[in-house]
Symmetry: C2
Subunit: 454 residues, 2 copies
């Protein structure tokens, strides 16, 4: 009988995170202070993050030990399964072998707790009592709520008001884990009050929510701030995914020709691909890596490589990254986790150095791929995950045309149980594609006034 799933035991959960900084041929440029435009030091980040995470952010050590307490928390849901998608292969009538790593079995239903648990742990160790963060659709906010509950920290989530009103269930999930969730803009911060004074009906934005979360962290010594993607340490925490997958592909007796993952800020993509990319960088392998992004937020495929702010308002350090500009307002697609204007520094450098590729997909193509996948494999994918599925469909059909067998591995980063309103809209024909015109992209890029990254 065919083996559908390659299952590890708890002793196979990685005990170290893999830090790709050690193996990059070109290290990323340093972050710059938003005011002085000079490289920043650890002290600039200390009001926001615990020192251990700041150290990880700049570390060039190849492996960093995972604390025992974090390993113990990982054991609540890790190791995650690696599936061979036999039924999906059959549906696509492809000679390609398709594997997927499934991260939807975590408490909050995605890969996000892999870093949330680590971040909550280091904060706890350094005496922090409360963590603030922002969330859009709620995927990251719920992961951090769970992690804070686990380590006995308070959690304050600023949720973009329009999502807070439209998607009440993610809020209820966060409440179940004891988090306090505020619609942003709120009256709890100067940033929020300033917006409300101008527009009491503001629907909010991720940029405003970040400003509120940061302001709350800076105000109080016992409060820090946490980010769910983009930063180096966040990407590194996710490498438990890829390290497990390396072992599981060995169990399956296959090596991927192509590894695919959705791309928002980079942590999803980095988590699965970096342990495989290490083989290219250090063992001369020739695996292809494809980051799947929405056509409506095409920073990797159509953005520019420049220094840019991480937030809309310009409070964060300037980071050297592929960006559409920090003033970019994404179309209201349902893959909320992929609507960020910039890409993490490490992934940006890797793309610049042509060590990875990127591909953009339209929304309808993604939902079509997602529904096909659910029919074949039973799992309802998150809208973010459907972007990787769309790339896999492309490659599987190409394999059929070329009559070539290929091994494709993708990150099925989460389930879509909280996204059924999006599927409903898709079935009812209410969704549309959002392709940016050449002109729009040119205007957007011309408007970026941040420093060149050279």
């Amino acid at each position: 009988m065919k083996t559908h799933k390659f299952l590890l035991s708890e002793k196979d959960i990685p005990t170290q995170w893999y830090n790709i900084m050690a193996d990059m041929p070109n290290k990323p440029l340093p972050p710059l202070h938003p005011g002085t435009k000079e490289p920043i030091g650890p002290e600039d980040l200390a009001p926001l993050f615990p020192m251990e995470l700041i150290k990880q952010e700049v570390s060039e050590e190849r492996y960093i030990d995972i604390p025992e307490e974090v390993q113990d928390a990982y054991r609540l849901w890790r190791p995650s399964p690696l599936h061979r998608a036999y039924n999906f292969e059959k549906m696509l009538d492809t000679p390609a072998k398709i594997y997927f790593k499934y991260e939807g079995g975590s408490p909050s239903g995605s890969h996000k707790p892999n870093t949330a648990i680590a971040q909550a742990y280091y904060n706890k160790m350094e005496g922090v009592e409360r963590i603030t963060t922002e969330t859009g659709a709620g995927q990251w906010g719920s992961a951090l709520s769970f992690a804070c509950q686990y380590f006995g920290l308070e959690c304050e989530v600023y949720m973009v008001k329009i999502s807070y009103d439209q998607k009440p269930y993610r809020k209820v999930l966060m409440n179940t884990w004891g988090a306090k969730v505020y619609a942003s803009p709120s009256d709890r911060t100067e940033a929020g009050r300033a917006i409300l004074a101008k527009n009491p009906d503001s629907p909010g934005s991720l940029g405003i929510a970040i400003s509120e979360a940061i302001e709350r962290a800076v105000m109080d010594e016992k409060t820090k701030y946490s980010l769910g993607s983009v930063l180096n340490h966040v990407l590194m925490h996710q490498t438990v995914v890829g390290q497990e997958a390396v072992k599981q592909m060995e169990m399956a007796g296959d090596m991927p020709d192509i590894v695919v993952a959705p791309f928002g800020g980079g942590s999803n993509f980095a988590g699965l691909t970096f342990p495989f990319l290490k083989m290219n960088l250090t063992e001369g392998r020739n695996i292809r890596f494809i980051a799947s992004e929405p056509a409506s937020c095409p920073k990797l495929t159509r953005g520019v490589f420049k220094y840019d702010f991480g937030d809309t308002i310009g409070m964060t350090p300037l980071l050297p990254m592929y960006t559409l500009g920090h003033n970019f307002v994404p179309a209201p697609i349902h893959a909320g986790g992929l609507r960020y204007h910039g890409a993490g520094v490490i992934v940006s450098q890797l793309l610049k150095d042509k060590l990875i590729e990127a591909r953009a997909h339209q929304q309808l193509e993604c939902f079509d791929a997602g529904v096909k996948f659910a029919k074949a494999e039973g799992i309802l994918p998150a809208p973010e995950a459907t972007h990787a599925i769309a790339t896999v469909v492309d490659e599987a059909l190409k394999a059929r045309e070329e009559g070539k067998s290929k091994v494709i591995l993708m990150n099925l980063c989460g389930h879509g149980h909280f996204d059924l309103s999006a599927y409903q809209a898709y079935f009812e024909g209410q969704l549309s594609d959002h392709e940016m015109s050449e002109n729009e992209i040119n205007q957007l890029i011309a408007a970026i006034d941040t420093p060149e990254a050279v």
Copy 2:
């Protein structure tokens, strides 16, 4: 380090179902024809079910082989993990060891696909083209939708209208798997049209939905009907759960003193407990088994043992069971899967013979236990599952009072991702308990006019 999860590999998935009929000291009384009140034969059931399932319904073979195609489908999500709930033990400050078998990782998020896949397979083998069923909150309807999609069958789900309107997301999930979902009463059946003629705004009921699904099946030779619990073959299909758990408890080096599962129609309870109950029946073990039911639907703890109809209208055979009467209208608690008036025949006989126990819990106690569990173990339990958790809390606290270590195993039958509106209502103080008075119970029982079971 502690082991949190006991994980099997695919080769450990059971290859046979365990049929407890072989080991019961007293076999159940036969079902009676609703008209003649005489024992029914296979031919009476043939319009509704494929012959292989009818044979399983009356079989006394101890083990029945699981077809290879069904085993292959099980591999999409089985084996399921068995967890040791260290954090929940710590939260309850109990010397008891608490284990839980987690069935929420299946495509539709509960144990239901274990039988849905088997039923769809046998229908497919016998040339059936379409399966009809009813669903309340949608748990069973979505499992059968997935199973029909898997085997290429059409699926027609009659969903109680009030749930159809209030819980659109379960419907979207069923649609994703290709099922047609109709609000019941519908205009597609005589039963539905008759109700609508009298009351165009009827909110529907499970009884009406059953009548519609059965009518559609009887009308057309290529259409059969499927039930998600109560029947003997359905209970038997679920024993893959308990057989895996027996192996996993061996891995853990423990043997349960108490096994707990939620109780609706019996398949959830039977699935986990029967392979352990076999040890009592054939090896002289002394494990306790507790069925956890809602205080608002207390058929096991306060009902009577009588012949009764499976549906409200009286179309099904009369079954010898613990019942509150087929006219019983349950309070609107959120554990939709536990609101059935009767208990499966096998489980009823076992309770009558004192081989198992039952315990009733109030709604608020259940949600309180569920929220505690989510905080400790990360998994948000389905409202049905919280009933077992409430029993576990009882027993864990008793263990503390008695200063005794005890090993408790429970069936965490599904996640609550589609039940967040219930959690929201709980947090907002909108839920209440529904205890039936002595008087209400007496009136209810006095009104049952079906035959004695002797």
